[in-house]
């Protein structure tokens, strides 16, 4: 039978309590949460392509592709917010409280701008989600993503509250890592949505 040899650990050794990083159970919990949410978006994207492939005149109502005027800057803003989040996280990894607080605050601000732009995009479109199945899937997918962004912002506020009270240290900042992971995940989903819903109709 395979398996390492007993007794594994020398007597008198105290095992560490690891509360950050890939050896923390909480981090793995967030990973699997992102996996299940990714599957949710995958199902919506798959529904989009299924409808597009099986319905004649999918884009018939209001025929044109979604405009890129707002989504492109939205993408840049979201990517920037991931960068600021990453920057802040690296800060606390070295114990730099100030960098963490600034990083979180910047990320929050950029995220708010993203949502504001998205709501402008929605309001500028004269056709709503009840016009056709295309509009339904478009608004649902992008809207659900926006809801995930909003959730990420709430999580950001929550850890900001803790950050400003100095809860986090170089050795203990699992909440930051989890929020950061979630935020990057939401960003990645946006790239997929951009590609599939906004770019792909122009490409094929």
């Amino acid at each position: 039978m395979t398996g390492a040899a007993y007794p594994y650990v020398e007597a008198g050794t105290a095992l560490p309590e690891i509360t950050t990083g890939t050896r923390a159970t909480g981090w793995w919990g967030m990973v699997w949460l992102c996996v299940t949410e990714a599957m949710l978006f995958a199902c919506l994207i798959a529904s989009y392509f299924f409808l597009r492939g099986s319905i004649n005149g999918f884009y018939a109502e209001g025929g044109h592709y979604p405009s890129l005027t707002l989504p492109l800057p939205m993408t840049a803003i979201l990517l920037a917010s991931s960068a600021t989040m990453w920057w802040g996280e690296r800060g606390i990894r070295r114990g730099d409280q100030r960098r963490l607080r600034i990083g979180l605050a910047l990320t929050f601000a950029l995220g708010v701008v993203f949502l504001v732009l998205q709501s402008i995009e929605f309001r500028h479109n004269p056709l709503g989600p009840t016009v056709s199945a295309y509009h339904s899937i478009f608004y649902t997918t992008t809207g659900l993503h926006g809801a995930h962004v909003a959730m990420g912002l709430l999580m950001n506020l929550y850890v900001q509250l803790q950050a400003w009270r100095g809860h986090f240290t170089a050795k203990r900042h699992l909440a930051i890592q989890n929020v950061s992971l979630y935020w990057h995940f939401v960003d990645a989903v946006w790239i997929v949505i951009l590609t599939c819903l906004y770019l792909s109709p122009r490409l094929w």
Binding site: M1, G3, A11, T13, P16, S47, T130, Y158
Partner: protein, 633 residues
């Protein structure tokens, strides 16, 4: 090898003080003990089994004779919908979660699950979501679209009442519970196994629990997506499934079955894992083909994602697609065949057979499994499926696989593990009656369904005309259902009797090999005084069982607060100490606020949704706020 100097005297008392839930009202609501939560899952899921059974009994009473008028069509439609929905969602998966919750930490030599509070939350959400869906009966608006809820019948035009909103919202609530439960199992099994328990040494029930938990994480979102789209169509006039708006009802079917087919494997694979634990004990030998069974379990979970469209063969799909799915559906039965032959080999190569009630139910399980499996292969044949799909032939198939591969192993598992949970054995004589009555009842009820289906009786009909060749079979089925119900009753009587008067079980009444049998019956709240070291697949059958290990290293005692051990994923090398949270009311609080939020959604009250949603977030914030002890640098 040097022995660490550890204070072992008083260890049990120390651990008890740290882990025990107080016997108070607070303790009852706030406990995060996986064993208590497991038992709650088992009891609650069993109640749902009984409710689903009552629904079935009413249906069989209606169908016993042609032109029945015991039930109106609307009542019948609500009953068959709730029967399927209850059984598949609120019984079949939670009962397996119950056994998993109770047994996983014990089987892997740990003291709790990875996320104890999340565990409590998943139970409370499960029971509240069940109350939510059953409240629909009180509102006179129980779901009536079938458990599969095909649009457009379940859409806004044809089901304008609240019936299908109850369905969608209750299920969305339940999926939260099931998903977090699955995540809990995955992280626990990967990171908290005992030292020495490499992946290849871990019990087969861990393989099945792991496979189905990963499958759940991937499959359940398809249902979530489908339900969200359905509610958007129903409430806000979206056009996903509306053919006049560029949508199609087939979108629902694809999303539902992409979830639904993996789901049926999710509700049977853990039961096969439990069977693989029980067979060796009553054949007095290790299981034959341990590695093959693990591989077959994972394969079934994986391939199960590739066969969903076999539920849609009659929808007008291109023939090439139907052919592919037909082949895939036949192929997915191969790993199951491997498992069956592993069990057969174990029976064949047994030293002796111990004819306990558990063993009888396991034998019945194999017989019913094979019948259900071969009828499944018949429906995998596309042109034959064109005749038998949506007929009682499929009803026969699905009941053989569900009663056979879920219910029978579950009853076997009760006879096997209830003594560990309560400290008392069930009665073996009554158990024999239980088995034979249930086995005969199940076959009497479901075998004739093959025939009436082939003779042209469609599914989901509240009555049927006389003289079509269906009359005597239906009567037989209804009689069989009554017999089956008596069998279930015998089981209940046995369980209740054993709590009062059952023989004391002792630690290991069956002479079994896995770690849970090394504890007392019932186990102490901290499970293991000293985290065991595992050297083989059958730890208690080792020459040197873990309990008598002379060298006890400090890292396995872990008595300064609620602690357990984290080990590496592949080899089970000790890696870290995990701090476990204590009792907390936050899981219940957040489950209650979620239930309130779903109620607000049901009544489409914006103010209600905002208020309850805010409460949910506040509870989450309260839960996640770090404890003072966590802020020590």
């Amino acid at each position: 090898m040097t022995t660490a100097r550890i204070t072992l005297s008083g260890l049990a008392e120390r651990l008890d003080a740290q882990w025990a839930t107080p016997h108070t009202v607070y303790g009852w609501f706030a406990t995060v003990d996986h064993k208590k939560i497991g038992i709650r899952y088992l009891v609650t899921a069993f109640v749902f089994l009984l409710l689903g059974g009552i629904e079935a009994a009413l249906m069989r009473a209606q169908l016993a004779r042609p032109n029945g008028h015991l039930l109106s069509p609307e009542a019948y439609d609500q009953l068959f919908t709730m029967h399927g929905t209850t059984m598949i969602f609120w019984y079949a998966s939670p009962i397996l979660s119950g056994f998993g919750n109770y047994l996983v930490p014990l089987l892997i030599g740990s003291r709790d699950m990875a996320f104890p509070r999340l565990n409590a939350f998943s139970y409370w959400s499960f029971v509240l979501s069940g109350l939510f869906v059953y409240a629909s009966f009180l509102a006179g608006a129980a779901p009536h679209g079938g458990w599969f809820a095909y649009v457009p019948y379940t859409g806004p035009s044809y089901s304008p009442g609240l019936n299908m909103d109850f369905y969608a919202l209750a299920l969305l609530f339940l999926t939260i519970s099931t998903t977090v439960g699955a995540i809990n199992f995955v992280v626990t099994i990967f990171t908290m196994r005992a030292p020495g328990m490499s992946l290849s040494r871990m019990p087969l029930m861990m393989w099945s629990t792991l496979t189905t938990s990963v499958a759940t994480i991937f499959a359940l979102p398809a249902l979530t997506a489908a339900l969200i789209l359905l509610e958007l169509d129903r409430r806000f006039g979206f056009r996903f499934f509306d053919a006049t708006g560029g949508g199609t009802p087939l979108l629902w079917q694809h999303l539902f079955w992409v979830f639904g087919h993996p789901w049926v494997y999710i509700i049977i694979l853990p039961a096969t894992g439990m069977a693989s634990m029980m067979f060796p004990t009553f054949c007095r030998r290790p299981i034959v083909g341990h590695t093959y069974i693990a591989l077959a379990t994972v394969s079934t979970g994986l391939f199960g994602f590739g066969v969903w469209a076999h539920h849609m063969f009659a929808t007008g799909m291109p023939l090439l697609s139907t052919t592919f799915f037909s082949a895939a559906s036949m192929a997915v039965s191969v790993p199951s065949g491997m498992q069956v032959f592993a069990w057969l080999a174990t029976i064949w190569a047994a030293r002796r057979h111990v004819f306990s009630t558990t063993f009888l139910f396991l034998l019945g399980f194999i017989v019913l499994f094979v019948i259900g499996g071969v009828s499944g292969v018949m429906t995998a044949s596309v042109p034959y499926d064109w005749q038998v799909t949506d007929s009682y032939f499929v009803v026969a198939h699905l009941h053989y696989v569900l009663v056979g591969i879920n219910l029978f192993p579950v009853i076997a598992a009760f006879y096997y593990w209830l003594p560990k949970m309560t400290g008392r054995l069930l009665d073996e004589r009554l158990g024999r009656w239980n088995f034979w009555v249930m086995f005969i009842g199940a076959n009497l009820t479901f075998f004739p369904m093959h025939f009436v289906g082939v003779r042209g009786m469609p599914r989901r009909i509240y009555t049927y005309p006389a003289g079509m060749g269906w009359d005597s079979m239906n009567m037989l089925e209804s009689v069989g259902a009554a017999v089956f119900a008596i069998g279930v009753l015998l089981f209940l009587i046995n369980v209740l009797w054993s709590r009062r008067a059952g023989a004391i079980a002792g630690d290991n009444p069956w002479g079994a090999s896995s770690l849970e049998w090394s504890t007392t019956s019932p186990p102490p709240e901290y499970n293991f005084e000293i985290i065991p070291v595992v050297r083989s697949r059958e730890p208690l059958w080792d020459a040197q069982p873990p309990a008598t290990d002379a060298a006890v290293a400090e890292y396995r005692v872990l008595d300064d607060g609620r602690r357990t051990l984290g080990t590496t994923v592949l080899d089970g090398q000790p890696q870290e100490v995990l701090r476990m949270p204590g009792d907390s009311l936050w899981p219940l609080a957040i489950a209650l606020t979620l239930a309130a939020m779903f109620t607000a959604l049901l009544f489409a009250s914006l103010a209600g949704i905002l208020v309850t949603g805010a409460l949910v977030l506040l509870c989450a914030g309260g839960w996640l706020w770090p404890q003072p002890e966590e802020l020590v640098p």
